[in-house]
């Protein structure tokens, strides 16, 4: 086995990183592109805050959808469930006069029940998720129309609106909100610390790691991106309530998927259900809970969405499932299951969100917006699959998409040791 020359090694490393961080880089390019196209409007503090508020529910849904897709399933009912739970919440808040602290758990419970219903058919009865959730899409849209009587319900009490559009109380110094800055500093410190530890581990175990220069560039880019984002929030109205909610959700779910046996079971179930089963993983229970989780997150998104519109409408949430699915795939999920990360889903959702926002600012019609987003989805997945085919191997990073199992890539024999 001859050692590859330096140039080849460098090329491999670069290619690996492009694949690994491909979507992050793509997100950065899209941000810069629209910053220029919109004449600097995109990254104005007001618009950054808006971006976060506008995309909050898609981000929430993308996290759940990523887990469903990792398990090897799909959920088409998300938009309808958002509408139904949003409608139920609005009725409880506006018509029954229940306080938010009572409605929130009830809505989440309703979402859990819906998820359990669909999870039961998929996991325990073995029906294809595509069919079960297609049925769910119709059923819950119908139920939404039924409970709303075809009309909108609103407005909602002040407390509910705070959830979607409010800001956390804050200390100001010269028009700058301090809370986002503190939070930004903390988050970037934690992220850099995680990257540093991961690299140190790789070096300790003799695995290929990024060069010091590349590593530092990564730390600085991470910290700069987080601080710039938080700085924008600080210059506008501070930290939105929903921003804190998202931070908690993203951190929590990323942790669960990366570092707990439960997360590992989700990956195992999607990667090879039979092998997981024979290793003692209760694959049916895993799939069931992933759907319950999706239901709960849909209900949360439904509540946030209604609160944001200050209204529950029969047509709410239409096509949300497609936004969430697109976010997951742009963010590196594999259609055959077993791969993808929570952070990937977040990046995917942001790609979609920034494009929506940017194209609206420059005045592109919905017609063009749809077509362009479709092409971006196609390009993202094509890029990923093609780069994967050229260079087999690599870890389970965002943008790492496996070929269907059992199909050995042509270059697969490369890894035959001693060959």
């Amino acid at each position: 086995m001859s050692a590859p020359p330096m140039a080849a090694a460098l090329r491999t490393a670069l290619r690996g990183n492009v694949r690994r961080y491909g979507m992050v880089i793509a997100l950065a390019v899209i941000v810069v592109l629209f910053q220029i196209l919109t004449g600097g409007l995109l990254l104005r503090p007001l618009n950054v805050t808006n971006l976060l508020l506008q995309n909050s529910y898609v981000l929430i849904l993308a996290i759940g959808m990523m887990m469903v897709i990792i398990t090897g399933h799909i959920d088409l009912s998300v938009g309808s469930v958002v509408a139904f739970t949003g409608a139920a919440s609005a009725i409880m808040l506006a018509e029954w006069g229940l306080p938010l602290w009572a409605v929130l758990p009830l809505a989440l419970l309703l979402g859990a029940a819906i998820g359990a219903w669909q999870g039961f058919w998929v996991a325990y009865m073995g029906l294809p998720a595509f069919i079960v959730t297609l049925a769910g899409m119709l059923v819950f849209r119908g139920l939404t129309l039924l409970v709303l009587g075809g009309e909108s319900v609103g407005p909602l009490p002040e407390s509910a609106r705070t959830l979607a559009t409010g800001f956390l109380p804050d200390v100001q110094a010269g028009g700058v909100h301090l809370l986002p800055l503190l939070l930004g500093a903390a988050v970037s410190a934690v992220l850099v610390r995680m990257q540093y530890a991961a690299r140190a581990d790789r070096i300790r175990y003799g695995l290929p790691a990024a060069s010091p220069a590349a590593a530092w560039a990564g730390y600085i880019a991470t910290a700069a991106a987080v601080l710039a984002f938080c700085g924008a929030l600080a210059l506008h109205r501070g930290l939105p309530v929903v921003g804190l909610l998202l931070l908690v959700l993203i951190t929590g779910y990323a942790f669960v998927m990366r570092s707990t046996p439960a997360g590992r079971r989700v990956y195992a179930t999607g990667g090879n259900e039979k092998a997981a089963l024979l290793s003692g993983v209760d694959t049916r229970r895993t799939a069931f809970w992933v759907f319950v989780n999706m239901g709960v997150l849909s209900a949360l998104a439904g509540l946030v969405f209604s609160a944001r519109l200050n209204l529950a409408t029969p047509g709410a949430g239409t096509m949300f499932e497609l936004d969430a699915i697109a976010a997951a795939f742009i963010g590196g999920a594999s259609a055959s299951g077993g791969t993808g990360t929570v952070l990937g889903a977040v990046v995917g959702a942001l790609v979609m969100g920034v494009m929506n926002n940017g194209m609206s600012i420059i005045g592109l019609g919905v017609d063009w917006q749809q077509a362009i987003k479709g092409l971006v989805l196609l390009a993202a997945v094509a890029f990923d699959i093609l780069s994967k085919r050229r260079a087999p191997g690599g870890g389970r990073a965002a943008g790492d998409r496996a070929e269907p199992t059992g199909k050995v890539p042509v270059g697969g024999a490369a890894a035959d040791p001693g060959g």
Binding site: M1, S2, P4, A8, T12, D201, R204, Y205, G206, L207, R258, S259, T260, P261, A262, R264, R265, Y267, A268, G271, N272, K274, A275, A276, L277, L278, S279, G280, V281, D282, S334, G338, T339, A391, P392, G393, G394, G395, R396, A402, T405, G406, V408, V410, G411, G412, A413, A414, A415, D416, P417, G418, G419
Partner: protein, 524 residues
């Protein structure tokens, strides 16, 4: 047979992959009407060589020359090599299960009426010719039956019928008998000899050296991507020891590691275990057996004897319907209703089909290794990444898994190394009873020995091992006692010291009889 004209000549074939040289100067000559065996350890380059020959690796992606019938050839794809009369039967069969036998035989080579875009399938000719081809390969199957209903052995024959439906000069068989039982393997080898008599040359890639010795005229041995030697049966050079020496580069003195450790008291006892297939046919009828502490117990049987069904049902009812039967661990009854409970009770099952049932192919080696014992790499429900890497590295060394690092996806490893990873998962889980279903199928001699060593270590550590195998020498070499099954019943048990292939075969073919022979008397 020596002196026949060369059908195939490969000269100085070199094939590189990014970061690895798969083939480094391979020469191969195949003469007319010759059975030429290609042997070598997993990863020696056999599959890559076949891919070069078939055009999967097109001309230009390798160096060296390929001559077919004396003419230099530059295959750009598999269609080119087929046109040159080279047909390949792959390890993983390339049949469409939903289509009929006849449709599969003529897939991509349809018997048609008319020409060009207006051609329609000529079903009459398709059926008649399929029947003729099936007769030629000795398969008594209905050409209009779907392939899904056929067993592996018959599918293999359909694949061969498909190959000879085209004008073929050279037939390449990649591990054709690894999934077949003894009788089916015999049939297949007879078929090769028949083809030879008709002037068709074949290249046989096989880990079953006894079969190679039986039928091969010459044997080319690959090691580390090089062709190290070609042995000629006419000169009396072809025997198993000689081939093994060539493959591993040294004499393998003992094919089975010596017994170590003491056999203790009864650890597991199965009584009257009865299982139905999902379609309610009886699969296992009243099977009883015991496994002692530190004991390696064999389970012999022909295909369809119910061994796998028995083991999988025992392991948390993974297969079929549980009818009755009890399992006792250390004298106490345990109920295993799902694999999770089985794992919790210290029972492990290593399946035969590692790709389908054993591995998360896209996931890194370390995640595959720790899957069955995640609590051992974490604390209070949180996985510890560094601890997982350390544990995986330890297992990798202990199991001698050849890989880049433990974060490499397991799908990139060779078959023997994949099997070591599956086995490693259970070594890590520290089971009290380890059920191994054909652990060395499709695995080369060197890796086999290493797997045997791990089995010995586990037993020496106090675990009981139940070894299911179709290779009788393996059972005789590894086990302390051997049970035999036939048609879902345990037909007897012999201590290895008093067993031989004949006595086992008698028990394995004892149909419809009550258990007799040296059956274990139940203690207590």
């Amino acid at each position: 047979m020596s002196g026949g004209a060369a059908v195939l000549r490969m000269r100085g074939i070199r094939k590189e992959f990014p970061g690895a040289v798969a083939l480094d100067g391979v020469d191969l000559d195949v003469r007319e009407a010759e059975i030429h065996a290609l042997t070598g350890e997993n990863g020696a380059g056999k599959s890559t060589l076949v891919k070069v020959l078939s055009g999967v690796h097109p001309h230009g992606s390798y160096t060296g020359e390929v001559l077919v019938g004396g003419e230099p050839r530059r295959f750009a794809g598999t269609a080119d090599s087929e046109r040159a009369g080279i047909a390949i039967i792959h390890q993983e069969l390339a049949l469409v299960p939903q289509l009929t036998v006849a449709e599969n035989v003529f897939l991509g080579n349809e018997r048609v009426r008319g020409r060009g875009p207006l051609a329609t399938v000529d079903w009459g000719r398709t059926t008649v010719e399929a029947r003729r081809l099936l007769a030629r390969v000795g398969l008594d199957a209905d050409p209009s039956a779907p392939v899904a209903g056929l067993g592996v052995g018959h599918r293999q024959l359909v694949e061969i019928a498909k190959a000879i439906a085209k004008p073929v000069r050279l037939l390449i068989l990649d591990e054709p008998t690894s999934a077949l039982n003894e009788e089916e393997s015999d049939n297949l080898l007879r078929l090769l000899l028949e083809f030879k008599a008709r002037g068709i040359a074949s290249i046989l890639i096989s880990h079953r050296l006894n079969e190679v010795v039986r039928v091969a005229d010459r044997v080319t041995v690959l090691r580390d991507g090089r062709s190290v030697e070609t042995l000629d049966a006419a000169r009396g050079e072809v025997d198993e020891e000689r081939i093994i020496r060539g493959m591993v580069g040294r004499d393998l003195e003992n094919r089975y590691p010596p017994r170590t450790g003491e056999v203790g008291g009864v650890r597991f006892e199965v009584r009257d275990w009865t299982v139905d297939h999902p379609d309610r046919r009886r699969a296992v009828q009243g099977a009883s057996l015991t496994v002692r502490r530190g004991e390696v117990v064999g389970l012999a049987g022909l295909m369809g004897a119910g061994r796998t069904e028995f083991a999988m049902n025992l392991f948390g009812r993974c297969y079929g319907r549980y009818v009755r039967g009890t399992l006792h661990k250390d004298g106490r009854r345990v109920r295993l209703r799902d694999p999770g409970e089985a794992v919790a009770a210290g029972v492990a099952y290593v399946p035969e089909d590692r790709k389908e049932l054993g591995l998360l192919l896209d996931a890194p080696i370390r995640e595959n290794l720790t899957l069955a014992a995640l609590d051992r790499v974490g604390r209070r429900g949180v996985l510890h990444a560094a601890r997982e890497v350390v544990a995986a590295e330890e297992l990798r060394t202990r199991m001698r898994v050849k890989c880049r690092d433990v974060s490499q996806p397991v799908g990139e490893l060779s078959g023997g190394n994949q099997q070591k990873v599956v086995l490693g998962r259970w070594v890590f889980a520290r089971p009290d009873l380890l059920v191994l279903d054909e652990p060395t199928r499709g695995v080369d001699v060197g890796a086999k020995y290493e797997i045997y060593q791990v089995i010995r270590e586990l037993a020496a550590g106090g675990a009981g091992v139940l070894l299911i195998s179709s290779e009788l020498p393996e059972l005789l070499g590894m086990c302390d006692r051997i049970y035999a099954m036939c048609e879902g019943r345990v037909t007897g048990c012999l201590p290895a010291s008093r067993a031989d292939q004949e006595s086992l075969m008698r028990l394995m073919t004892r149909t419809g009889a009550a258990p007799t022979g040296e059956t274990e008397r139940r203690p207590g």
